[in-house]
């Protein structure tokens, strides 16, 4: 009889396989933002709360998705190599030491499109199907 632990382990493995079959999540900024490209490390630091201003002094305001949503899981796996539990643990360290609160989070991909296009210096991530004329995809290398 498979134990509950084994079952959980397998569902996680399957979950990763399904995730990797989906289209890649893209990082977006408002259409008129000066930000053209970001390094993978910069994206990581922005979403971990370590980077709040780019080297030229431009502030960055990250917009997050609902914890546990598919896009959320994919983004953190794809760009940071971390699971939702690792991200939760990371923010627990900052919240309970008074060193920061996680980025503002919105309900879904279309809400990210709205929030990023309406917020100055915003950066967000979403499924490429939701990219519209108000947004520009940032090259992440």
């Amino acid at each position: 009889m498979p134990s509950r632990l084994t079952v959980t382990g397998w569902s996680v493995v399957l979950g990763f396989m399904i995730d990797s079959a989906c289209a890649d999540v893209v990082v977006v900024v408002p259409q008129h933002s000066p930000v053209e490209r970001l390094s993978r490390e910069q994206v990581m630091d922005i979403y971990l709360g370590r980077l709040t201003r780019l080297s030229d002094g431009t502030p960055v305001v990250p917009i997050d998705q609902r914890e546990g949503s598919t896009t959320y899981r994919e983004f953190y796996q794809q760009y940071l190599g971390q699971s939702p539990a690792q991200i939760k643990a990371h923010w627990s360290k900052l919240i309970f030491t008074g060193h920061g609160q996680p980025p503002r989070s919105v309900a879904d991909d279309s809400a990210v499109a709205d929030a990023v296009s309406q917020t100055r210096h915003a950066i967000g991530y979403l499924d490429p199907d939701f990219v519209d004329a108000r947004l520009r995809v940032v090259a992440v290398e």
Binding site: L5, T8, G9, V12, V13, G15, F16, S39, E41, M44, D45, R50, L51, T52, R53, S55, P59, V61, E67, G68, L80, G81, Q82, S83, P84, A85, Q86, K88, A89, H90, S92, K93, I95, F96, T97, G98, H99, Q101, P102, R104, T119
Partner: protein
Amino acid sequence: MRQLAMALLTALAVPVACGTAGAAETPTLSLNGFGTLGVVHSDERQADFVAHRLVPDGAGHSGAWSAEVDSRLGLQLTANPTSRLSGVIQVIAEQRHDGSYRPFVEWANVRFEVTPALSVRIGRMVQPVFMASEYRKVGYATPWIRPPQEVYGLLPVTNFDGVDFRYRSRFAGFTHTLQGNYGRKDSTTPSGGDVRARDGMTLANTLERGGVTLFASYSRYRLTVAELAPFFDAFRQFGPEGEAIAERYDVDGTRNTLISLGARYDPGDWFVMGEWIRSDSPSFIGDGRGWYLTGGYRFGSLTPYVTLARAWVDSDTSDPGLSTAGLPPPLAAPARQLNAGLNQLLGRAAVQQKSVSLGVRWDLARNVALTVQYDHLDLAAGARGVLTNTQPGFEPGGTVDLFGLALDFVF
């Protein structure tokens, strides 16, 4: 246990206005909480395994199983009236020096952002003495059930009242955080004595890049243990020899220093982290050394890990004390008593042990993790290691096996 449950319920019932985090410019109020429900079993019935040395009860002698070592509940209210000003109050319920679970204020401070890079705080804060000091009580945020006591046990006190600054800069992809603070702290021992730390200061430096974290800190403080004053005054009655002993071992404004170096590498699927510390006190507390190394691998929601740790003392753990040979019998007896007391003090202060810990953390739901951990403590010859409440039947220098189960949560 009932007391603990009551304290947890009381803390939960505290009414608070709770808002959700909005845009950076609008005032926000957030309520967050963390906690651990943990039990630990010790096979050493002649001594207690405790959370730290300033609490009375643990697993072993007080009861083979104990829920008092790892369990706690914390609630935090964070207010951001403006984007540059914030306030934090964190209240924790856990076993205290008198065995009660009265909630106490762990953090209470106001933070002002002078520039985007520099912030200052005033109030009650936790000292960043070790790499995980500031969140050591948030079990969910750490891989272990409890931080390795060979390192974290050297400083049982976590918070202080004072001021601190935090300066953050970036170079070559590294995020560099320099923290400094100055303050004081009063605490109470299980026997009711006062421990006063004054002129405490810490400088801590953290470098982060990708999965790499490097940490270094230097702390110093003046310590006074008032309840020991009569004991050392008794030594002083015995002339120059006694005065020299009192001078050597008394803790009366003694300058203690602590250095910690730590590193962590966490590329995502696995992690390894370690810390080394040295704590020097020209008193009976002595010169403690310690290190630990933890490594783990993440298989989906399961993270097995292993920790190796060691603590030892670089100063004398015993002393011949007063020479009783030439003393008349009415003086020799109290002198022998004082010598025995001194050696008991030295033996208790010295933490000397090695340990191996094996554990598995299971992130079973969002915000909740269940961790099982087995610890094998190998006490140094003649030492009691991190154990307290040693009974007459306790044999120092043996081995102790601990088995712990903890449910950590954050909200």
